[in-house]
């Protein structure tokens, strides 16, 4: 179970000795393959029996050791993350730019992978902070990989605000310790419950702010749309698909394990504002990557809305949304990368008529785009509707109206991209390669296709997946179960 964390780290260290790119690639894929097997095994086992797996680091009792805890949600997230990371790496290999530009790409990418897994598995608040720092630092490096003017400027915003986030998180954790004397997530629920209301609320809100910055929620989202568009597509794809999800995941943990059911209405309001502001940003922009980046923010809002409603149905819907959104968002960025690689840009001012040039690419865009807009029969529809339904049950009418309006505006933003980039005459001015769009980028196309297929598979297998999400949600709400599993480990 600790393999998805340790494996990539070891690989990263080994790769510092490797000069040859091919060797680095080999090590990367081998490692991810092993991680994949390991995380799939954990996932299947937990799917089978639902027993929470705990690894006690350094072998000390669960009550005061650092633990890695895999419950249903964590195991799922690690598996999905590993799959996505692997496919995107294949894409990056096909794209060639990032890993040929810097010999540190592969090691840093591996470290980021490890950080993501560790964040999902962390059973200790401070260790979670460390995991965050690992993946953040790796993301800083990946974001500024080429060191261009744009990247440095955007990287600065990203780095500074994420450092601020780190400070807030660290402060929050320090205060949690000061109030409770522990940072173990299994020990915290009981101790937090004893605190005075204001202190408890303050700690909860501080954690919400910290994770909220990471997850890019209103009003703390601004760093995201400014920075993601500047990274290479393969990098921003992982950022978009996974990194913000880590923040959401942590918000879910905070809301279910540490402060069960508290301040739900605040979360709902934040969620509604986030989806609205995000989508308005998306339709304000023209650039494909910008629109997609703002859409990340908007989607986060949906998850927060579901989380805020609370209860197993809403949390299950949120989990389903969380999982479905990873391949959807990732694939959109990957498509953008293919467009940009083919035409030198993905701006509608430069590119158009892509659908004529590559119908397959158009389909690869359309499926996740419609899924994002919540249209049936794609996974996004099920996820969005599941959340809306939970809202109806809870009579969150305002939120539902916002969610539906945002859904329409999301469609607007996707249509903007479609009309601007995929429709229209083939622009003669563009730096268009003469051969087929996907012919020279077969690996990029295939990996994008795999992620799209993954998202379609989520839609097809929605039934069993949703049952699993429901079980995962029930497990999340069973605080005592978590505590006992860690204590008795």
């Amino acid at each position: 179970m600790s393999l998805p964390v340790l494996g990539p780290l070891i690989a990263a260290a080994v790769m510092l000795f490797l000069r040859r790119l091919s060797a680095q690639r080999f090590v990367s894929f081998m490692t991810l393959g092993v991680s994949l097997v390991a995380s799939a095994t954990t996932f299947v086992n937990i799917w089978d029996d639902g027993v929470i797996r705990v690894v006690r680091m350094s072998g000390w009792p669960g009550s005061f050791a650092i633990t890695l805890v895999a419950d249903r949600l964590a195991a799922t997230m690690v598996l999905v993350a590993t799959i996505v990371v692997t496919i995107v790496l294949a894409y990056a290999t096909g794209q060639r730019a990032p890993d040929e530009r810097s010999s540190f790409y592969h090691p840093v990418y591996m470290v980021m992978t490890a950080g993501i897994s560790q964040a999902f598995l962390a059973g200790d608040l401070f260790n979670l902070f460390v995991a965050f720092e690992i993946l953040l630092m790796a993301s800083y490096v990946l974001l500024t990989l080429e060191g261009t003017n744009e990247q440095v400027r955007a990287g600065t915003t990203y780095v500074v605000l994420n450092i601020l986030e780190s400070m807030v998180l660290l402060m929050a954790i320090g205060l949690v310790f000061a109030a409770t004397g522990t940072v173990s997530m299994a020990e915290l629920p009981a101790r937090l419950a004893e605190l005075p209301d204001g202190v408890r609320m303050g700690l909860q809100l501080l954690l919400l702010v910290a994770f909220g910055i990471k997850a890019a929620v209103f009003p703390l989202f601004f760093w995201l749309p400014d920075s993601y568009p500047t990274a290479p597509s393969s990098v921003s794809a992982v950022f978009a698909g996974l990194l913000t999800k880590v923040g959401v995941y942590c918000l879910i943990r905070t809301q279910t394990l540490l402060f069960p059911g508290e301040l739900g209405n605040v979360v709902i309001v934040i969620g509604a504002a986030t989806m609205l502001v995000g989508v308005l940003g998306a339709i304000s922009h023209r650039d494909m990557k910008r629109i997609l980046s703002f859409q990340i923010v908007s989607s986060i809002g949906y998850m927060l809305f579901g989380l805020g409603i609370g209860g197993s149905a809403a949390i299950a819907a949120t989990i389903f949304y969380l999982i479905h959104h990873i391949p959807v968002k990732t694939s959109l960025f990957l498509v953008e990368g293919i467009v940009a690689r083919d035409s030198g840009s993905s701006s509608p001012d430069v590119v158009s008529g892509m659908a004529r040039r590559s119908p397959i690419l158009a389909v690869l865009f359309l499926v996740p785009a419609l899924s994002l807009a919540g249209l049936p029969p794609f996974s996004g529809f099920l996820a969005k509707f599941a959340i809306v339904r939970a809202g109806v049950v809870d009579a969150q009418w305002v939120g539902i109206v916002v969610a539906l309006v945002v859904s329409l505006l999301t469609l607007v933003s996707m249509v903007k991209i479609w009309v601007g980039v995929f429709w229209g005459d083939v622009e003669p001015a563009a730096k268009v390669s003469t051969v087929g769009v996907l012919r020279h980028q077969r690996l990029m196309g295939v990996s994008t296709g795999m992620i799209v297929a993954l998202s379609l598979a989520i839609a097809v297998a929605a039934g069993p997946l949703y049952e699993f999400a429901t079980l995962a949600a029930e497990q999340l709400l069973d605080v005592a179960g978590y505590v006992n599993a860690v204590r008795s480990a």
Partner: protein, 154 residues
């Protein structure tokens, strides 16, 4: 940073200060388990020595010694720490679970070796490597240093 031609620096820094400081660095590293110090502090002290060499323009010294490839040192340090983390997995223990050996070696007597010492040593190496990398990259005046010393895979 330009090299400073100075007899004072030659004598003091090269002959004595560096070596004494490096010795202290090792000392701080290894006694950390029982007194303030440890791999991190020790690594920083040794890093400080390199800073001193660097500030006095002595970095050519670094380039003729085995630590000229700090990325490899970095990798080695990480591997040592990770090894300490992962090896227990092979003997069915928890990751990072420590083990205390007390072998009774002839002449020396009973020696107490704690496995976490290797972890600390890994930390030490990483810190030294990090300091070196930062010095050699940010501190490089010309370009050549970066390619040669800051990292080697091209």
């Amino acid at each position: 940073m330009t090299f400073i031609r100075s007899a004072i620096l030659d004598e003091l820094v090269d002959r004595w200060l560096s070596k004494v400081a490096a010795l202290v660095a090792l000392y701080v590293t290894f006694r950390g388990h029982n007194a303030p110090g440890g791999g991190f502090a020790g690594g920083l002290v040794l890093g400080g020595v390199f800073v001193l060499q660097f500030l006095t323009g002595r970095e050519p010294h670094l380039r003729h010694r085995p630590i000229r490839r700090p990325t490899m040192l970095l990798g080695a340090g990480l591997l040592m720490a990770l090894g300490t983390t992962a090896v227990p997995l092979f003997v069915d223990a928890a990751p990072l679970e420590s083990h205390i050996w007390k072998p009774d070696i002839p002449v020396i007597g009973e020696v107490k070796v704690v496995s976490s010492m290797f972890f600390d040593l890994g930390v030490f190496m990483v810190v030294v490597a990090v300091v070196l990398m930062m010095l050699l990259s940010l501190g490089a005046r010309g370009s050549s240093l970066v390619g040669d010393d800051g990292g080697e895979v091209s």
